[in-house]
């Protein structure tokens, strides 16, 4: 890591620090119920981060990012039940999900499937998972000791201390784990987009042909960022089933697939912090709306999406950044002009 990259990553470290402060302050001031709720929001934020990476930076509009999220949760749950501990189950969740994404991505990217069909394929894969796992309610559908449970899902064993299966984490501790995971994933993604790999991915997003004409194999780079994104989504899935306590096939439904896209649109493509922030904001908005019965939840979400697409098409974070940059650019000019005027006056 050189000094240039450190400078580039300054905002990333700033937000990571904010996250750290939040991680240690929140359990002191908030109620346990809120903390448990927050854990779920954090898991979803990791999912949003993964799509922010592959869509915002890789230019890959994956409509089925929840497939990797849900797959990670299922692999974790089934492995944890069979292994009797969570440590290797987490590793399995990330590895199996990444391997699945790599295999799927291989056919998509090396088959040069166009963007629209990529969205269709990934969404279809998600819905296949949804239908498939919903039909696994009989006792014959089991992997090792774990019953898949059909639409009722499986209850997920909580995370335990590394290699110490008797020491389970309580919900308030899972919050720390989730927050730490979010911060680590965020800093990792922030680092990745500043490496050569990340910058080439952005170049491919901007103009794939040009990147190829410079000698970069765009298929490899896209496959790489797609696989890494799936791995991060799987971490989100592990946190999610820990926060909720179980995993059901509903995670793969159309509503969740669309919601992930909405977080990134509202937060802003091309930033990582935007979609994370949007996830928290929309999570609390839907929770608040759940407490009343005047407005339909989906109606409000739909309205928000339309407003953003029409009025803030870049999303919140890029719009704010543009605004700050524009102010910064004009400010010194103004000062210079004033000095110039004074100089003229004295002559």
């Amino acid at each position: 890591m050189n000094s240039g990259m450190l400078r580039q990553m300054r905002p990333t470290f700033f937000y990571a620090l904010l996250g750290l402060v939040f991680m240690f302050v929140a359990p002191q001031v908030l109620q346990l119920f809120t903390i448990i709720n927050l854990t779920t929001a954090i898991a979803l934020a990791v999912l949003a981060l993964s799509l922010a990476l592959i869509w915002g930076y890789g230019g890959i509009l994956c409509f089925g990012q929840v497939a990797f999220f849900g797959l990670g949760a299922y692999v974790y749950t089934i492995s944890a039940i069979n292994f009797g501990g969570s440590t290797w189950a987490i590793v399995m969740a990330v590895l199996v999900t990444s391997a699945f994404a790599a295999a799927l991505g291989y056919f998509i990217f090396f088959g040069r499937v166009s963007d629209v069909y990529l969205g269709v394929i990934t969404l279809t894969v998600t819905l296949i998972f949804f239908s498939l796992i919903r039909r696994t309610s009989g006792p014959e559908y089991k992997i090792g000791n774990a019953l898949l449970g059909g639409f009722n899902g499986v209850s997920s064993p909580p995370i335990n201390l590394p290699w110490n299966t008797s020491q389970f984490l309580f919900p308030e501790h899972v919050f720390y784990v989730a927050m730490a995971a979010l911060i680590i994933c965020y800093v990792f993604a922030g680092w990745l987009v500043n490496t050569k790999f990340g910058r080439v991915c952005v170049a491919i997003r901007e103009n794939e042909l040009r990147a190829e004409l410079l000698g970069y194999d765009s298929r490899l780079y896209k496959l790489g960022i797609f696989t890494i994104g799936a791995g991060i989504a799987a971490i989100g899935g592990v946190l999610f089933c820990n926060g909720v306590g179980r995993i059901t096939p509903d995670v793969f439904n159309l509503y969740n697939a669309a919601l992930t896209i909405i977080w990134v649109i509202v937060g802003g493509r091309g930033t990582l912090i935007g979609p994370i922030g949007a996830t928290f904001a929309l999570f609390y908005l839907t929770s608040a709306l759940g407490g009343q019965s005047v407005l339909n939840n989906n109606l409000v979400l739909g309205a928000i999406l339309i407003v953003f697409v029409l009025l803030v098409p870049k999303g919140v974070a890029p719009t704010v950044i543009d605004w700050v940059n524009a102010r910064r650019k004009t400010a010194p000019v103004r000062v210079r002009r004033r000095r110039g005027a004074r100089a003229e006056g004295t002559e």
Partner: protein, 242 residues
């Protein structure tokens, strides 16, 4: 690298590109020697751009073969052609619109160099092409001519030994065209070039040997003066211009 002036660096044999019944490129045998500067000319639809796209991997030829430095590159992907050390500029400016001029050139140089050397090459290229003023500007906000220059900068920054340019002077002002010609002369000191061009004045500025395309075939290959004097060539192309 043991390259000599007389070596063949690019060769096509019986190259064909058919679109349905249209023979855009028809049985083209073409040879380019190292450190040569070759212009491809011809009326609209003569097949020069299609030929160019077959060389750069943007199109897969229907028949025939492309050899670059003795390696069979027929139907290769564009990145495979570029990875041989070939610099390519397409007809429509192909740049990274969301990135700054500096980042555009950085991406090109980084393909071949480590971090530190990339920085040096990027700075060097920006100075050489006089892009200092627009260094930190997003490409999407620049004028057409400037974008063309950044694209040329990307080609130069990769330090290629073979350069393929499709209409590098298109849409440039007179002054910019003149500078482009100068740059091409400079590139030619170290690398071979193929330049597809429409602009006769520009070709006269740079040309040594000119290949004239007509209806997908090579009609003749000679100096610009000889082509201007030739009756057939004037009929197909220059008649209504010169």
């Amino acid at each position: 690298m043991t390259r000599q002036r007389g070596d063949v660096v690019l060769e096509t044999r019986g190259l064909c590109m058919h679109f349905g019944g249209v023979r855009a490129v028809d049985q083209v045998d073409f040879t380019l020697f190292d450190r040569e500067l070759r212009c491809l000319i011809g009326p609209n639809g003569a097949g020069k751009s299609t030929f160019f796209k077959c060389l750069t991997g943007q199109l897969t030829p229907s028949a025939g073969e492309v050899m670059i430095r003795g390696q069979a590159m027929t139907g290769a992907e564009p990145f495979e052609v570029a990875s041989l050390g070939v610099g390519i500029k397409t007809q429509v400016p192909n740049v990274f619109d969301g990135l700054t001029a500096e980042e555009n050139i950085w991406i090109s140089a980084r393909r071949w160099h480590d971090e530190r050397r990339t920085r040096a090459v990027t700075a060097d290229t920006i100075e050489r092409l006089r892009l200092g003023d627009i260094r930190r500007m997003q490409l999407g906000r620049l004028a057409h001519g400037q974008r063309q220059w950044v694209e040329l900068g990307m080609v130069v920054a990769a330090e290629p030994w073979l350069v393929l340019l499709d209409e590098p002077a298109a849409g440039m002002t007179h002054d910019e065209t003149f500078r482009t010609a100068e740059l091409i002369e400079e590139i030619n000191k170290t690398s071979a070039l193929i330049v597809v061009e429409h602009d006769m004045q520009f070709i006269r500025m740079i040309s040594r040997t000119v290949t004239l395309f007509h209806e997908g075939r090579i009609l003749m290959e000679d100096t610009m003066d000889a082509i201007s004097a030739d009756k057939r060539a004037r009929e197909v192309y220059l008649g209504h211009r010169a």
